[in-house]
């Protein structure tokens, strides 16, 4: 069986900058063939330079990526896409402005051919608190924030006082926050583009860092989970291949996006190798975060 395809959902209210983020991703996804499902018809506003040819509801892009509109049913479109899964390496869904992106990400949990990666919620720094207070859409906005694994606090330059909205956001969601203007985030980090999670800075505006750990002996599961639970807020992802003490003959894949940890087994432990874990994040070195 081939490895499952990473599945990312971009959520966020109307006008937050989801399409801007998507266009950055499409332009910057070198060597990575993306399939993008756009739930918001008005938003299939793909950078003209990327467009190679039209074909029905699908637009093939010159960089090997593929865009389609979801039309009536995300489910039907996604299943049809999976029939041609050899044509891409990663699926990204742009949820509609009122959708709960967590519910969309659930589909990856139900589908063996998919691997649930992150729920990225884009937030308009200048507008989010007003939307959240609206009696008709406030609950929709708050549900989106709660569903996020990573929050992109966009249009930070337009916010009157960024610290106010940051503080407010911390009260709404556990997810780490990346500040951005025009959705200028470090793509590799947000989307986990490098499969092994290990890469040096890709030259984008905010360089990121990684810290790797290895253990020669089987690892205590609860100790590792506790360690991940306590990582500083600027650690955004973790990826590891670990031999747990409680299933020492199995190869366990540890995957963290934001504060959401998934552990799955994908085969038997390949003998005399060390368990490895890589954390990736922004900002300073992890002073206080000592190796286990």
């Amino acid at each position: 069986m081939t490895a499952p395809i990473p599945f990312t959902v971009i959520g966020g209210f109307l006008g937050a900058g989801k399409t801007t983020l998507l266009n950055r991703l499409l332009a910057g996804a070198e060597g990575r063939r993306l399939a993008v499902l756009v739930n918001d018809f008005g938003a299939l506003d793909i950078d003209g330079e990327l467009v190679a040819k039209h074909g029905g509801d699908t637009i093939a892009l010159s960089n090997g990526c593929l865009c389609c509109t979801i039309g009536d049913s995300l489910v039907a479109t996604l299943l049809a896409l999976l029939e041609r899964s050899d044509e891409f390496d990663h699926i990204v869904v742009e949820a509609s402005g009122v959708a709960d992106p967590g519910r969309i990400a659930d589909l990856a949990t139900l589908e063996a051919r998919l691997h649930r990666d992150g729920v990225i919620v884009v937030v308009d720094a200048d507008d989010v608190q007003r939307r959240a207070a609206d009696r008709r859409v406030g609950d929709t906005v708050l549900r989106q924030l709660k569903a996020a694994d990573l929050l992109v606090l966009n249009k930070i330059d337009l916010a009157d006082d960024p610290s106010v909205v940051r503080t407010w956001l911390d009260g709404q969601s556990m997810a780490p926050v990346l500040e951005a203007r025009h959705a200028d985030v470090t793509l590799a980090l947000v989307f986990g583009l490098d499969q092994h999670g290990v890469s040096q800075s890709d030259g984008n505006p905010k360089p990121f860092r990684s810290w790797s750990y290895s253990w020669p002996d089987p690892v205590d599961r609860s100790a590792l989970l506790a360690m991940l639970d306590e990582v500083p807020s600027h650690v955004l992802r973790a990826k590891g291949i670990v031999r747990f003490a409680d299933s020492a003959d199995r190869r366990s894949i540890v995957h963290m996006v934001g504060r959401r940890v998934d552990i799955s087994e994908d085969g038997s432990w390949p003998g005399d190798v060390e368990s490895r874990l890589v954390l990736v994040g922004t900002g300073a070195m992890l002073h206080s975060f000592e190796r286990e």
Binding site: D72, A76, V98
Partner: protein, 545 residues
């Protein structure tokens, strides 16, 4: 140019100048006149046809809110609680316990090819089984090898067997919204919402939507409508892919196709400028039995699905407010675009917050682009109160209320979702008429069966499945209910000048009934038999099975 005069026990015309008649003359598919035979003879030579002499003739019924999927679902076995008529006229018996459902599926399963293909059934509704829910073990009795999927009547929930769960890897550790678990944390076999939809599509193959609207499904829908006396029906939400358009064009090209079909274009499926262009292009292909002219916007979910957008104080049992399928800003944008293009928009709103948002969107569209006689229609509007009906009236809007809900889900609304007071006034036909809002009533098939006489019975008697009367004050008369399923519904589709009553020059579309709906006791209205229909002067007798 032949002229046929049909004699009848009674003709109920919906024409106030001549409310009742004994004869109706038909020429070139249109109504030449009604009245006593003497008054029709002046038109020249007529041929008198007495085959309806002991029948009662009404204008053909108009179903303002149904879906053509009703014709497609019959490719799969029906396992609902209530009796239901299939397109070939056969009665599918209601199944009164989970064991009966299992037994019926076992019998069906033995006739399926031994190729491991999925058994998909539909129409199941556990609310009538005293709290007992279907579980994995029930459906494992149908087959422990073949995937078995049972869709509930609302199409948003399903039950499956262990092979389906095993293949999807759903266990007690699966932390996904919509996987129902028991008190020990084990999955019960029930899946809801997106999760249910995903598994249903996987089980049935991704072509499910296509299967449900192909050529055979289109014919099936027309036939099941014909059996209920319907001559005009909507397919009230369709993205209209080329394959569906081709099926509709092919079916409606035949003079034997017994229905005038009005698909409503799903506004959310493409940008409005493209959608408007597409709809105008499709309208050029209109024929006598197919009319592209309607637009549909879906706003919220459903009340019983706990996804309706409600105003304060929300769900009676404290369930959080529902979800927007299309949010308020987008409703504004879509509505304004289609409104400016001169099209009529039908807006699905179940909860009263959704109705409020839709009403305000129409208000803003009218301020931005004043327009007369737009007839934008709220579909369902189940929780609309008197204030909202006053606004509908003031804005020139129509209401198509979901009267069948009173019977099928009224008890649930009373006890759980709305509570007594709002359940009593839901689907407020009485208020709508009192305030002069143009009114239609509907079935939303396949959610509930198509049958305007039953829908009228619901609006007249307001009885729930358990026999409770919901809202004495909102009952309407039989005459008003018959108007709502003929001329009233035609008005909401802008077809009232062409059909909906028996009047000179209109299309010769009739419902042929075995009894007089105005003479039977109102509580027996749903027992009135339908002999068949006449469409454009062609007679379509319902098959007797």
């Amino acid at each position: 140019m032949s002229t046929v005069v049909y004699s009848a026990r009674r003709i109920i015309t919906m024409n106030p100048n001549l409310p009742f008649a004994t004869h109706v003359a038909v020429r070139d598919g249109r109504i030449l006149g009604a009245g006593p035979i003497e008054s029709l003879k002046g038109w020249g030579k007529v041929e008198v046809d007495d085959r309806f002499a002991d029948k009662v003739i009404l204008p053909g019924f108009v179903e303002g809110h149904s879906h053509a999927y009703e014709g497609g679902v019959w490719k799969f076995p029906y396992v609902g609680y209530f009796d239901r008529t299939s397109p070939d006229g056969a009665l599918a018996r209601g199944l009164k316990s989970i064991d009966e459902v299992v037994a019926a599926l076992q019998a069906y399963e033995t006739k399926m090819p031994r190729d491991g293909s999925t058994l998909l059934a539909w129409g199941f509704d556990p609310i009538y089984f005293g709290g007992r829910r279907m579980n994995l073990a029930d459906l494992d009795k149908v087959s422990a090898a073949r995937p078995v999927v049972v869709l509930h009547s609302n199409f948003h929930v399903l039950n499956a067997n262990t092979p389906v769960f095993a293949k999807a890897g759903i266990t007690r550790h699966t932390n996904v919204h919509g996987v129902v678990k028991d008190e020990h944390g084990e999955p019960t076999g029930e899946l809801q919402e997106n999760t249910a939809k995903f598994m249903a599509y996987k089980a049935a193959g991704v072509e499910l939507a296509a299967i449900l609207s192909d050529d055979a499904a289109t014919w099936g829908f027309a036939k099941v409508a014909q059996l209920a006396g319907v001559t005009t029906a909507t397919d009230l939400h369709n993205t209209l892919p080329d394959s569906t358009v081709a099926a509709y064009l092919a079916a409606s090209a035949s003079v034997d196709f017994p229905l005038r079909l009005l698909p409503a274009f799903a506004a959310f499926s493409m940008p409005p400028d493209e959608g408007i262009a597409r709809l105008k292009e499709l309208a050029k292909k209109n024929n006598e039995r197919l009319r592209f002219q309607l637009v549909k916007i879906i706003t919220d979910g459903s009340i019983q699905g706990l996804s309706a957008r409600m105003r304060w104080p929300g769900y009676y049992d404290g369930t959080p407010n529902g979800v927007w399928n299309v949010g308020p800003d987008e409703i504004d944008r879509l509505l304004l675009a289609y409104h400016r293009a001169g099209l009529q928009v039908h807006i699905h709103t179940n909860g009263d917050e959704a109705s409020e948002v839709a009403i305000e969107a129409v208000e803003r569209a009218l301020a931005a682009a004043p327009r007369w006689d737009h007839r934008h229609t709220l579909q369902h509007a189940q929780m609309a109160d008197a204030g909202q009906f006053r606004r509908l009236k003031a804005l020139g809007m129509c209401a198509n209320l979901f009267a069948n809900h009173l019977f099928y889900w009224g008890d649930v609304h009373y006890a759980k979702t709305l509570g007594p007071e709002r359940a009593e006034r839901m689907d407020a036909c009485g208020t709508a008429l009192k305030l002069g809002v143009p009114l239609a009533i509907h079935c939303d098939a396949p959610v509930t069966p198509i049958g305007p006489l039953f829908t009228a019975w619901c609006a007249v008697n307001r009885l729930t499945a358990s026999g409770r009367t919901l809202g004495e004050a909102e009952k309407i008369s039989v005459a008003d209910a018959l108007h709502a399923i003929t001329l009233g519904a035609a008005y909401t589709l802008k077809l009232d000048e062409e059909l909906g009553s028996i009047d000179v020059g209109k299309r010769a579309d009739f419902a042929i009934l075995d009894d007089d709906p105005l003479a039977v006791p109102p509580e027996k209205l749903n027992d009135v038999g339908v002999w068949g229909t006449v469409l454009g002067g062609r007679v379509f007798e319902a098959p007797r099975v």
